[in-house]
Symmetry: D3
Amino acid sequence: MPIVTIQVTREGTVPGADRTTAEQKEALYSGVSDLLREVLGKDPADTFVVFQEVELENWGRNGLSVPAYRRATSAATSG
Amino acid sequence: MPIVTIQVTREGTVPGADRTTAEQKEALYSGVSDLLREVLGKDPADTFVVFQEVELENWGRNGLSVPAYRRATSAATSG
Amino acid sequence: MPIVTIQVTREGTVPGADRTTAEQKEALYSGVSDLLREVLGKDPADTFVVFQEVELENWGRNGLSVPAYRRATSAATSG
Amino acid sequence: MPIVTIQVTREGTVPGADRTTAEQKEALYSGVSDLLREVLGKDPADTFVVFQEVELENWGRNGLSVPAYRRATSAATSG
Amino acid sequence: MPIVTIQVTREGTVPGADRTTAEQKEALYSGVSDLLREVLGKDPADTFVVFQEVELENWGRNGLSVPAYRRATSAATSG
Amino acid sequence: MPIVTIQVTREGTVPGADRTTAEQKEALYSGVSDLLREVLGKDPADTFVVFQEVELENWGRNGLSVPAYRRATSAATSG
């Protein structure tokens, strides 16, 4: 009866999407369940996966929000 | 000073509701606090309860999102 | 399919115990499941409860660890 | 590579705001990263901070939702 | 920069083990990172996975601790 | 009434320590409370901080456990 929580920033990773698509979520649920079945023998019927998308402004890294972090990182690399 | 986190899928469980109602949440907060006071002697004033409703599409079970899981389950039982 | 996480400090609340007893945990699991069934109609068989005991030194309040907080509080009240 | 999760009720704490402002979040991310660097020597570039605002109605204390708790508390103090 | 938390009961799932082995954990970390790279294009170097094993007595289902739940379930099926 | 959860790998960051020391934890609790008071005006008496140390083997990055990740990283840099 595993519980897997996936936290990612809310953004699109395929053209036209501004967040994770329903298809991508289905791929994550099946991938996680398969992995726990194969590695630990866990029954997918008892495997719960909770998917949490976090607004970019609500995720911090390197002392900055992700938007500010990305601006600083790209400025540094194109500096 | 307990912290209790309740995660449920976002759906109505009483007629006309599409999510947990304010009354239901109050019943959960008082029920959880009473339980921790009765079983562990914890002071309700120091008992925090965080209630998280998760979109159906953001909860996976049996390798599927909950909507897909429920379609498959009902198809199997009415098969 | 609710997930309820209960976090408490690791300490005994009945004579002779230095942590939550097995009986207390059973009472918590049944109390939480009953509550979610009564309030939200959730099936206990699909209700997961995760119980986490946190060492006193690993819980902070009022800018202090719980042991330090309790020493300060009792000193203040007996001051 | 610390992960710090900050959960607060969704409300404004500066004039005109009904929630935590972007500036306040930036101050939290930099404050948390500085603290972990100073105390534990952790690299801010590997320090993730997840900020979660919880609706007042979704946070319980003393057996009540926060709005009900605050009404009861203020009634008691002005009683 | 995803964060994935995996919670399972503390038990062995291979002969001779009473908990998840180091090899199984490595398989989980690589499987989760591969999945997030393939589905969401996430960089494994920024993907954190936290693995939490929970004592059987600290996990509840159907209003019982997992040990009690398993005794009741096996009694019912062999009834 | 904020809840702040700090997750770090279980290791010493000062000479002679194999984990976070009590003094370091006190510094974290007071630093977090001060920060939330200064930035959001939160009362330290209602600010809970939960500190979680995770065994190195139970933390994954780049598809590897942290020990394996660090071996690979140091081999690459000294390659």
